[in-house]
Symmetry: C2
Subunit: 179 residues, 2 copies
Amino acid sequence: MEFDLSQSIALLVRTPAALNTLLSGLPDAWTTHNEGEGTWTVTEVIAHLIECEHTNWMPRAKSILQSTEPQPFASFDREGYKQDNQVRSLPQRLDEFARIRATSLDELRALNLQPTDFNRRGVHSVFGPVTLSQLLSTWTVHDMTHLHQISRILAHQYREAVGPWSQYLGVLHCNGHSA
Amino acid sequence: MEFDLSQSIALLVRTPAALNTLLSGLPDAWTTHNEGEGTWTVTEVIAHLIECEHTNWMPRAKSILQSTEPQPFASFDREGYKQDNQVRSLPQRLDEFARIRATSLDELRALNLQPTDFNRRGVHSVFGPVTLSQLLSTWTVHDMTHLHQISRILAHQYREAVGPWSQYLGVLHCNGHSA
């Protein structure tokens, strides 16, 4: 489907609550292990989602709207969440994600965007010109790519326990498709 | 990690509520489209999860426990949900999944399984002997494989809308890893 602001918000508003329902109170055995060296735990994924709200989605949307000529985005470090040295529990991080997402969506709605705004552009350091609608679509799909990752991390913890059924469980054969 | 009944139940009990939080009330544009010919919509995935509760998990667990010698499982049709011709909305299906999952877990707890039970075996038509712990682990990972699929189906609807960001969004490059 084509980009639609209300459809995007409908999904963006649900992600924090869905993650909270799935993960809050889940035993540490599921949430504090990763998929092997260089991979993330569920807790680290939530930290990354929080970092993206702080530095990525609405900051870039505002950057696009603040200038008549497309401007380069500030760079984004996908490991940037590691610079936050405060130790927080997973429930605390889930609450923080819910709060900051709600703030982001309040800001988005307050922009009162019109159809012509969605074609306004910024400049990505790798891709070059990108539109506001592509940025907002990416925000939405980014939630899904990390839900996809979280389901995979959880499944991974039972990789051996399922025995021969492994071959029928696609999630156990996913490598994340990282570029 | 090794199979653990309480850890498994902790995840199994959360899946219906997490899916309800993510999907209930989401616009049809997200939930009534699939990923192309021969693939499922989100609504069909929930129907499949319901069918599995009816014919797969607890029936197979009981089959293992009812006999001293490993017995073949009744066959399972992963497209079996299509035989249910009643038209139900996605919220109705989500409610039905929550109800039947709660019943399944009540039955599982009532079995009061002991450590030696987990090594008891049934016979899978393809794999041969499988243990109760492998069956219960597979039930848990099966939830995750379909959460993985649902995140992918939702993301797919914005496959074009994200523009060049597609290359950074792993979920858009997942083919489901079906055997």
